[in-house]
């Protein structure tokens, strides 16, 4: 039986927004994975992408700008049985929330982080975001951008993310596949999604990604800028927990992430299944953490008194 992940809330994104593709991919992935909606919690920040949880029939926690990750991590650590997704814009995750984005990599909590990466701050009407390249002048900018861009793939890899992928909002089937892999992956997964903003990014448009400005003289068809890593024989997998193998896979992923312009790769860049999750690390300190996590603990007896043995804890402070 598959579950419906559609909510009945009106979707108020601009026509042609990449967010529609991302929303559909999330709903399809969860539905195909047959996860019960009440086990899923989706956290978002602020911006157009922040509204996503309202359109999905699962717990939807629309938080403050840049902080969706720590909210999500707190919930996941309190109850590791939850399937946790985090969605935010590139400004959300890599601008105001960049500190949390990096810190999340150090922990490898089992969750999936999705970046709606369109190069602009859409909901405040088109200012330059952290992924907009230097020299680019999108339509709402009075002057060309003089900041260099953050490379989300590279940042995720050096921060310690153990699954790093990039999707394209208008290749929903492919994106859905990436999301399923990301959700299945044990650890922190990043799916950076290239996404046109039809209202404010007049440079990286759907047509631009599709290569409609470059027509193949032989076929008469556009030569798309986007290509799939898996079609090029790229192997993102760390196959054994070996330092040399890990370094090599990280380096080739980073090299791939630098490709831009005429050829833009999507697909899985890096996947290392051998890193312990934060939850597993906690079990080294709290042996039954996974069976008896914070949210499921009983804290009071039938009379409402504490269930913890306070006498024992006070022992070292007692005056004898």
């Amino acid at each position: 039986m598959s579950h419906t992940y559609k909510s009945d809330v009106h979707i108020d994104w601009c026509p042609g927004c990449g967010d529609f593709g991302i929303l559909s991919a999330i709903q399809m992935a969860l539905s195909e994975m047959n996860i019960e909606p009440h086990r899923v919690a989706i956290f978002s920040g602020i911006g157009c992408s922040g509204k996503t949880p309202h359109f999905i029939n699962a717990y939807g926690i629309h938080t403050i700008h840049g902080r969706a990750l720590p909210y999500a991590i707190g919930a996941k650590l309190a109850n590791p049985n939850l399937v946790v997704l985090v969605i935010g814009g590139d400004g959300d995750m890599l601008g105001i929330g960049a500190g949390h984005f990096v810190a999340a990599g150090r922990r490898n909590v089992d969750l999936t982080c999705i970046i709606c990466d369109n190069g602009v701050y859409g909901l405040t009407k088109g200012q330059a975001s952290p992924t907009l390249r230097r020299g680019v002048k999108t339509k709402a900018l009075p002057k060309p951008n003089i900041n260099d861009a953050v490379n989300p793939i590279m940042l995720a890899i050096v921060s310690g993310y153990t699954f790093v992928a990039r999707g394209y909002a208008f290749d929903v089937r492919h994106l859905k596949g990436l999301l399923k892999q990301a959700i299945q992956h044990k650890g922190t997964a990043l799916v950076d999604v290239l996404q046109p903003c039809p209202s404010y990014n007049d440079i990286m448009t759907k047509e631009w990604y599709g290569g409609e400005d470059r027509i193949d003289p032989v076929t008469g068809k556009p030569i798309p800028r986007i290509y799939k890593l898996e079609d090029s024989g790229f192997d993102p997998m760390v196959h054994k927990p070996d330092e040399g193998e890990i370094v090599q896979k990280m380096c080739s992923a980073i090299a791939k992430s630098l490709e831009w312009g005429d050829r833009i790769p999507i697909g899985v860049f890096y996947c290392n299944p051998y890193v312990l999750t934060y939850e597993e690390r906690l079990t080294s300190r709290i042996p039954n953490y996974l069976q008896y996590p914070p949210a499921l603990q009983k804290i009071a007896d039938e009379d409402g008194h504490p269930i913890a043995n306070l006498e024992k804890l006070m022992e070292r402070f007692k005056i004898k």
Partner: protein
């Protein structure tokens, strides 16, 4: 000066040299002898080398605050002599190392220039020179007894005794030697000290033995050399109560475990971090009885996840996330960290999430006096955050109360589904006190309204409109209870709504929880009244000045001054009615606080229309001592001084 078996002892030294440890050995030895103990720590924002000191008050009577009238000072460096010799009362004693007396005061590098200047001016005005010796000379003029203790020579003897030729390994024992010398002068039974050392070094038997030997040697040496040089002594008493000796941060931490907190987030900050570090230390703890985890799987232990975050924004937001999953969750911080938390606080208010922030105030603004005491964040705790949302601010006044308040903070948060700020301060955090053993039977955990799935005959509405403003809560992951949260104004399901009528209803739903709080929480949880309620002089205060005020009430009574003291505990919603009742007959209302502007006074004024008539304030980074509370209140009552600024402490 010295009465009813009540001693003020102080030890000072360079940070990192073991002053704290020595003081806790001293305090414990007093407690083992049945005495009541209060100890407080002063230290710089520094790891090694700067001056720190610890004051212990030990008494047959209950003691709740420190005193700056020192009876006996233990020192081993020059700086402690310079800084504290003149805090010793006439016929009190100073233990010092004769090898430091020739030192030039202006060459002590760790004293602030302005401080050195003040000391030299004092000496000059007395016709004295500029060395440590001159300070001792001045002390002598004031009838202070001098006990010279040649530590290095003694250490050499001890080295033979314990068969450890390397003196450098023994240097840390100098502290214990100073403690032992003090007890010898006080003619306090060595057995108590020996027991205290053994308990302190419980898991390090060899070190314990060495320290006991060294202590014993010094104890006898001082006995033989100085005999009954002090006119006073310290006697043990019989104590039948079961007591503990505990610090403020530890008390709150135990309150959290008792109250069911199972997720604590924090970012390192003074003086709050101690609480989280201790919680991590005891992260797995025994339960009273086994519980069933899953069918037929039992657990004898409970646990708390202590999560160190990348900043305080992540601290409050992760705690909020954990609370959404149904855990009792909290975070602990100080002023600068709380500043970062306020956007998250506003979100928790908007989404009615029960989350507790334990706020240990320290000297501000900005980095301020990061290791010193102040109570200047009350108005910030009450108002920090954008927009209007309900919250409860609960202030603890002493270490024992802090345990029970930590539980109540959780109960309030879940009962009313709002953020609770449990406000404390540095003085409370870093002090130790003997208290009655905490009684878990006095603790009742109340989790508030949780949605019952059987009653769910319609779609679950997280923010359902109700009479009390409280809508039954669900946890993430509970089948049938899918809900949405958003920082935007929302409808009953939690979806964004900018509808003007919904806005009004939803705003009123949230805000009326404050009326529910005001109605449901009894007066005795909101404020405590001490002394004669009919007294014409009423002292109002909140937080840690409680100890000094209570200990001064008796002294005031001896002077024929009757005072009623009101300790305000719930600052928001403010107990306006109860205050009105208690202030209506007062001639003088004296506000005692550790801040510049009299923040509680401002609140009283805005809530009642009338405010305090007198202010006793202190903002030099040091807590109010017993004498200061006494003199401050006296000046207000007798001399009618309107604003008294206290400046005591080193």
């Amino acid at each position: 000066m010295y009465k009813s078996n009540s001693l003020v002892w102080r030890i000072g030294g360079a940070q990192g040299s073991g002053v704290d440890l020595a003081a806790s050995v001293f305090a414990r030895a007093c407690a083992i002898g049945g005495l009541n103990v209060f100890g407080t720590r002063e230290y710089y924002s520094n790891i090694k080398g700067m001056h720190s000191y610890f004051t212990v008050v030990a008494s047959s009577k209950q003691v709740r605050a420190h005193s700056n009238n020192v009876h006996l000072l233990s020192s081993f460096d020059s700086e402690t002599v310079v800084r504290h010799a003149l805090s010793v009362v006439p016929s009190g004693g100073i233990i010092f190392d004769p090898s430091v007396v020739k030192e030039d005061i202006s060459k002590i590098p760790t004293m602030e220039r302005e401080y050195v200047k003040r000391v030299l001016e004092t000496l000059k005005s007395e016709g004295l020179g500029e060395s440590v010796e001159d300070v001792l000379e001045l002390a002598k003029k004031r009838d202070i007894v001098q006990i010279s203790l040649p530590y290095l020579d003694l250490l050499k003897e001890v080295s033979k005794l314990v068969a450890e030729p390397q003196l450098s390994l023994l240097m840390r024992m100098v502290n214990i030697m100073a403690v032992s010398a003090a007890f010898s002068l006080l003619r306090y039974d060595f057995e108590f000290l020996s027991q205290s050392i053994n308990e302190t070094f419980k898991e390090r038997e060899k070190i314990a033995k060495m320290n006991v030997k060294a202590a014993e040697y010094v104890y006898d040496y001082v006995r033989q050399t100085y005999g009954n040089i002090l006119k006073f002594n310290l006697s043990p008493i019989k104590s039948s109560e079961e007591r503990i000796l505990i610090s403020g941060t530890t008390s709150v931490a135990l309150g959290k475990i008792a109250g069911g907190v199972r997720f604590q987030s924090y970012y390192p900050i003074t003086p709050a971090a101690d609480e989280s570090v201790y919680l991590e230390d005891i992260e797995v703890f025994e339960l009273k009885s086994e519980v069933e985890v899953e069918s037929s799987i039992m657990s004898k232990t409970g646990s708390i996840v202590v999560f160190q975050t990348e900043d305080e924004i992540a601290a409050i937001t992760s705690a909020t996330g954990a609370a959404l999953a149904g855990t009792r969750a909290s975070t602990a911080t100080s002023g600068p960290g709380f500043s970062l938390m306020v956007e998250g606080l506003s979100w928790a208010g908007m989404n009615e999430v029960p989350v507790v922030v334990t706020l240990y105030q320290r000297g501000g603004p900005s980095t301020g006096l990061p290791t010193r005491h102040e109570q200047a964040d009350l108005l910030f705790a009450m108002h920090g955050g954008h927009g209007e949302f309900p919250r409860i601010v609960l202030a603890s006044g002493d270490i024992e109360e802090a345990f029970y308040d930590a539980v109540m903070a959780q109960n309030y948060a879940e009962r009313y589904q709002l953020p609770v700020i449990h406000i404390l301060d540095k003085a409370l955090a870093n002090s130790i006190m003997t208290c009655r053993k905490f009684d878990p039977m006095k603790v009742i955990i109340e989790r508030g309204q949780i949605v019952n799935k059987k009653d769910l005959n319609e779609e679950y509405k997280r923010f359902k409109f109700t009479e009390s403003g409280i809508s039954p809560r669900a946890r993430l992951g509970d089948e049938g209870t899918i809900f949405w949260n958003t920082g935007d104004e929302h409808d009953e399901y939690g979806h964004i709504s900018e509808d003007p009528l919904n806005r009004v209803t939803m705003m009123e739903k949230r805000m009326k929880k404050l009326d529910t709080v005001a109605k449901e929480i009894p007066d005795h949880e909101k404020l405590k009244i001490f002394g004669e309620e009919s007294a014409s002089n009423v002292v109002v205060s909140w937080g840690s000045p409680k100890g000094a005020i209570l200990d001064s009430l008796e002294l005031l009574k001896e002077e024929g001054i009757d005072v009623c003291y009101i300790q305000v505990k719930i600052m928001k919603p403010f107990p306006t009615k109860a205050m009105e009742k208690n202030l209506s007959n007062a001639k003088k209302v004296i506000d005692v606080e550790n801040n510049y502007s009299g923040q509680l006074g401002k609140i009283i004024k805005s809530e009642l229309g009338i405010g305090p008539t007198h202010y006793v304030l202190k903002y030099n980074g040091r807590p109010i001592s017993i004498e200061e509370a006494f003199h401050g209140i006296m000046s207000a009552v007798k001399e009618d001084k309107k604003r008294i600024v206290l400046t005591g402490g080193v």
